[in-house]
C-alpha cells in the first residue's frame, strides 16, 4: 500500500489561511490503513482546524468528507454535487489522490495535508515498512522475496557490501542487512545457488526517464 504522514498542523493552517470555506477530504484506502488520512484522521484534523480558526477569531466553513478512494474517478465524482460550495479542498489522500481530485475539478485549489512516503507493508500496529520501490521490473524471485533495492541502504543488486555487522546494516543500525536476510532466506529454502545465476542489467527505463508511467489494459477498458 501507499503510506503517508500528516503534515504539521502549522503548515496546513498556513496553506488554508487564504480560504474561507474548505472541504477536508479523506481517503478510505491506503492512507486509512496507515492512520494518516482515513475517516477518523480526517475528522480529527477538521475538528482541530475548526477550533484553531475559532480561537483566531477567523471562523471558516470547514467541513469533512471521506471518499472510499480519491485516486479512482468513479469515487471522485461523488464530489460533483458539493465541491463548489468550497473555495478549496484540503486532501488527506496520497499524492495520487490529490492529483486525481485536482484533475477532476480544475477550478478548485487542491491542498495536500499529507506527505506521501513509500510503498510498504503494515508490519505491526503503528509500524509501516518500505519494501517496494515500484521499479517496474520485479526480481524478488531471485532474492528470496526480499527486495535489495527497497531494503538495502546501498541498493546493491550484486551481493552484500561487506559492511554488515551481525546482520545489521553499517549505514543504519536500525536496519537489518537486506543481503543477510536474502542469504538466510535462500539458505532456508535450499536455494542459495540462485545467486549464482547471471541476470542482465536491470532495466531502469521501466521505472524512470520517460515521464509518468502508464498501464493501459484494453481488456479492462469500457
Amino acid at each position: 500500500m501507499i503510506t503517508a504522514e500528516q503534515k504539521p498542523v502549522d503548515e496546513i493552517r498556513k496553506m488554508i489561511a487564504p480560504y474561507k470555506s474548505i472541504l477536508v477530504l479523506g481517503c478510505g484506502s491506503c492512507v486509512a490503513e496507515c492512520a494518516a488520512g482515513g475517516e477518523k484522521e480526517t475528522g480529527a484534523l477538521a475538528s482541530a482546524l475548526r477550533m484553531g480558526a475559532k480561537m483566531e477569531g477567523k471562523p471558516a466553513l470547514i467541513q469533512e468528507k471521506t471518499l472510499d478512494r480519491q485516486c479512482v474517478r468513479d469515487f471522485v465524482i461523488q464530489l460533483d454535487e458539493i465541491i463548489h460550495q468550497y473555495e478549496a479542498v484540503l486532501s488527506l489522500g496520497c499524492g495520487a489522490g490529490v492529483q486525481a481530485v485536482a484533475d477532476a475539478f480544475p477550478d478548485i485549489p487542491l491542498l495536500p495535508a499529507l506527505n506521501t512516503e513509500f510503498l510498504g507493508e503494515t508490519k505491526d500496529q503503528g509500524y509501516w515498512l518500505e519494501n517496494c520501490l515500484g521499479c517496474g521490473d520485479c526480481m524478488l524471485h531471485i532474492f528470496g522475496g526480499i527486495c535489495p533495492l527497497a531494503r538495502c541502504s546501498k541498493q546493491l543488486l550484486n551481493g552484500p557490501c561487506g559492511g554488515s555487522r551481525e546482520g545489521v546494516c553499517e549505514v543504519n543500525a536500525d536496519v537489518p542487512c537486506a543481503w543477510q536476510l536474502i542469504i538466510d532466506r535462500l539458505s532456508a529454502t535450499d536455494a542459495l545457488g540462485r545467486l549464482e545465476e547471471i541476470y542482465p542489467p536491470k532495466d531502469w527505463s521501466r521505472k524512470q526517464g520517460r515521464g509518468p508511467r502508464r498501464i493501459i489494459r484494453e481488456d479492462q477498458q469500457g
Binding site: K40, A44, G52, K54, M55
Partner: protein
C-alpha cells in the same frame, strides 16, 4: 475569567468501581451541566477524534478514567488509551490550546476508590483550567450552571 460556565467531558471505562447507570445519574444530579459522562466498554476504544469533538462542541476539558495497569480485561486497552491521550494533547497544542485540557486518570491496582471519588479528584485537577477559548460563551451561557 470566571468559571461558572465550565464543562468537563468525562469518559470512563465501565470497569471503574461503582460506575453503574444509577451511579452516573447520581453524578449528573450532583454536578449538573458541569460534567458530561460517557461510559465506554474499554478505554482503548477511545480515539483522539472523540476527545477533539468534545472539545470542539461543548467541553472545556476532557478526561479519561482507565482501569489500573495490568488489569484491562482486553489486555492493553488502557495502555493504548494513554498514547491516544498524548496524541490528542499534541494535536491541541498545535493549535495553541493548552494540553492541560486533556487528561487521564489511571488508578493503581490497590486504589479502591470508586467513580464518585475519582470524579472529585478530576474536578480538583481541572480547577485551574480556564473556560475554553474555542467555545462560544454566548451559546454556553444558555446552559449556564454552577460548578460545585
Amino acid at each position: 475569567m470566571g468559571k461558572e460556565h465550565f464543562t468537563l467531558a468525562l469518559f470512563y471505562c465501565q470497569g471503574t468501581p461503582q460506575s453503574s447507570e444509577h451511579d452516573r445519574q447520581s453524578l449528573e444530579e450532583r454536578y449538573g451541566k458541569a460534567i458530561r459522562l460517557f461510559p465506554i466498554p474499554c478505554s482503548g476504544r477511545l480515539e483522539p477524534l472523540h476527545l477533539l469533538r468534545a472539545l470542539e462542541e461543548f467541553a472545556d476539558a476532557v478526561y479519561l478514567i482507565t482501569c489500573p495497569d495490568g488489569t484491562c480485561r482486553y489486555f492493553d486497552g488502557n495502555r493504548r488509551a494513554r498514547k491516544r491521550i498524548e496524541r490528542t494533547r499534541f494535536i491541541i497544542a498545535s493549535i495553541g490550546l493548552e494540553e492541560e485540557r486533556v487528561g487521564i486518570l489511571v488508578r493503581s491496582k490497590d486504589d479502591r476508590r470508586v467513580l464518585v471519588d475519582l470524579v472529585q479528584e478530576i474536578m480538583d485537577r481541572v480547577e485551574g483550567v480556564a473556560p475554553s477559548p474555542v467555545l462560544n460563551q454566548a451559546v454556553k451561557s444558555a446552559h449556564a450552571h454552577s460548578r460545585k
